[in-house]
């Protein structure tokens, strides 16, 4: 704890002064060194261990999906009345995780929040990998995966087209656009940093590979000019895009007429929940990366504290949405609506509901305390609790709304099969595999951007010294 207290210092003379975003005596070349050596040094043994475990998870995922393709979608526990179960829960869960990456990279960029530079690269990468995990579920849920191309408006022998009146088709466009734009945004940010690795390369192989991906970047100011405009516009369009994606995901539910799903609060509530869960996942990963890669001077306590504050805000919005749903159920005077919500909190899935409520609404409230939101073990614990809570949120919304059909003879109770569970565990393997490859081969910190922050910081210090 002493180390934590030392790390977080605000200058005494001005209580409103913001803490430095880059700590210690740094110049451009020490920054380059700190970020590049993570990629250049000999691979640590722990990386191999983590990678081996993750690859096992990925292989298990492959095995489970292969089993599903050869046997049929019935290997999952989905059945009437719960026709959407873990697959859609996991889809929404993973898509939601991705949202923090775009929020950090786009929205905070537009708001000129300079603290984003230390974490945006990793958060964007996390977005991409989360979207990859998410896309698996609807793809395989169609059952006959070899016909999944029917999702896209392609001319083929039946002469039919997708039904654009369906929110599920909107989802296809939203998620694929989101994945593509996130990839482009991430790659554009990477180009100057890949050029750094190219210029530092000691082997022909590295020089060639980083050379190809950095496209011959030479830091020309005539390039930077267009680059900055393109980056700004990408940030500008990613902001409404990220809001639209989870809104459209929520339309999958809200546009139907099912009590528990058919509510207008869904789009903002889903977006807030997505940001909430995404920040929790960023926190979990960054705490590990910061510790494992010795990036404490770049990802400072200030960054962590700001992220905890965002979780407190979005967690409270989610809590408000949960309460408002109950109010609306009562206020609507609709018996089905009332029954659904009463059943959600006190019916067979009450355990899931209260797990969700405790994890998402109660636990982030601890972050009102400065002591708790600057404690690394505590925030690590809470970030995992929130991840669990947000998974339960999607499960509660999907399973509780479906398991009590309008006719009691059609009531049921969903239980996951081992295939369900292992597939979900496998997606974590895939996610971690991709993330580990990322931290091994790509600069985890947006180097060019951090240097710009350092220049800014130095000018400020210089300016203060003068006056």
């Amino acid at each position: 704890m002493q180390a934590v207290a030392n790390e977080f210092k605000i200058p005494k003379e001005n209580p409103l002064a913001k803490p430095l975003l880059i700590e210690g005596e740094q110049d451009y070349s020490t920054l380059t060194e700190a970020v590049s050596t993570v990629v250049e040094d000999k691979t640590p043994r722990n990386w191999y261990i983590a990678f081996a475990i993750s690859v096992c998870g990925t292989l298990m995922l492959g095995g489970m999906l292969g089993y599903l393709v050869f046997t049929g979608v019935g290997v999952w526990g989905n059945n009437q009345p719960v026709g959407w179960a873990w697959d859609i829960t996991n889809f929404v869960f993973w898509i939601g995780i991705g949202h923090a990456g775009t929020l950090i990279s786009a929205i905070l960029f537009l708001f000129r929040q300079k603290w984003r530079t230390s974490i945006n690269r990793a958060a964007e990468a996390m977005t991409l990998f989360a979207v990859a995990c998410a896309a698996i579920y609807p793809g395989f849920h169609v059952g006959r995966i070899w016909l999944a191309y029917w999702l896209f408006p392609l001319p083929y022998n039946q002469g039919m087209w997708p039904n654009f009146r369906s929110p599920l088709e909107w989802d296809v466009f939203a998620v694929s656009t989101y994945g593509t734009v996130s990839l482009l945004f991430w790659y554009v940010g990477l180009i100057p940093d890949l050029a750094t690795l190219r210029d530092r390369a000691t082997t022909k192989m590295r020089q060639l590979i980083y050379g190809i991906f950095s496209l011959g970047w030479r830091g020309s100011n005539r390039h930077w000019q267009h680059y900055e405009i393109a980056y700004l516009i990408l940030a500008g369009i990613s902001t409404p895009l990220v809001l639209s994606v989870h809104s459209i995901v929520s339309f999958d539910f809200a546009v139907s007429k099912l009590p528990g799903w058919h509510t207008t609060i869904f789009p903002p509530y889903f977006v807030a929940g997505a940001v909430f869960s995404g920040f929790a996942m960023v926190m979990t990963l960054m705490l590990v990366a910061r510790w494992a890669l010795n990036l404490q001077h770049l990802i400072t306590m200030y960054h962590l504290e700001v992220m905890n504050k965002i979780m407190l805000v979005t967690g409270s919005i989610v809590g408000y949405a949960y309460s408002m749903e109950f109010f609306m159920a009562w206020y609507s005077g609709n018996m089905y609506e009332k029954f659904t919500f009463f059943n959600r909190a006190f019916g067979p899935y009450a355990w899931a509901y209260w797990t969700m409520f405790t994890c998402n609404v109660v636990s982030p409230q601890c972050f009102w305390s400065k002591k708790l939101r600057t404690s690394i073990p505590f925030m690590f614990f809470i970030s995992i609790v929130i991840n669990i809570g947000m998974w339960f949120e999607r499960f509660v919304i999907i399973a509780t709304s479906l398991h009590r059909d309008f006719i009691p003879s059609s009531w049921g109770y969903f239980r996951p099969t081992p295939v369900d569970i292992l597939t979900f565990a496998g997606t974590f393997g895939l996610f971690m595999t991709l993330f580990l490859l990322f931290i091994r081969f790509v600069p985890v910190i947006a180097l060019a951007e951090v240097k710009a922050v350092l220049a800014h910081q130095q000018h400020k210090a210089h300016g203060h010294a003068k006056h």
Binding site: R165, F173, F185, V188, R200, W217, N221, P240, S244, A455
Partner: protein
């Protein structure tokens, strides 16, 4: 030294303030074919170099409009012209249900325009060879050095005079001629 074998002259600087001053002086000295190479985008360097605003946004807005139009045509033509199918009693085409996909298509083409327009059309990348790479110091552009380069194509360029001029700039290091 034969003029045609030389790409130009370069000078390296250690900080963004020095390059700003250097760029301003190069421009005021009357050079037009020159460039700065920096590890990160330096504020106000565009003005110091006398560069005009980027035209990239005009190209991008055209892509946005193209995306919107394609999204509209796709949904209208497939649903209301090519294969009419009434589903759930809903109209064959209506802007209400078309909106989400119109939005996504516009965003997608905007992003393509921004990225590929910026890289390919405006910056001419990928370009794997450039004469500036012949100078050893250019390896530090992406690390901690700020370079000014004046091309031999510039009407004012003169190997000796330009080199001397670069040397006179505050903070200039490693002033040298670069082969083409």
């Amino acid at each position: 030294m034969a003029e045609n074998k030389i790409y130009g002259a370069i000078a390296a600087f250690k900080s963004d303030t020095e390059i700003l001053e250097a760029a301003r002086k190069v421009r005021l000295a009357g050079y037009s074919k020159f460039d700065c190479h920096t590890p990160f985008p330096v504020h106000h360097l565009d003005q110091a170099m006398g560069m005009k605003r980027s035209k990239l946004p005009y190209f991008i807005i055209c892509c946005t409009i193209a995306g919107f139009t394609l999204g509209l045509l796709l949904q209208w033509w497939t649903g209301a012209v090519d294969y009419k199918l009434v589903i759930g009693g809903k109209p064959l085409f209506a802007l209400e249900f078309a909106t989400p996909i119109l939005f996504e298509c516009s965003i997608l083409l905007t992003a393509f325009g921004a990225v590929f327009g910026m890289l390919g059309l405006f910056n001419g990348l990928p370009t794997f060879y450039h004469p500036i790479f012949n100078a050893e110091i250019s390896k530090r552009i992406t690390n901690d050095r700020f370079l000014v380069s004046i091309e031999a194509k510039d009407p004012q360029f003169d190997a000796t005079k330009t080199t001397e001029f670069l040397q006179s700039l505050h903070g200039a290091e490693e002033v040298q001629l670069v082969e083409a």
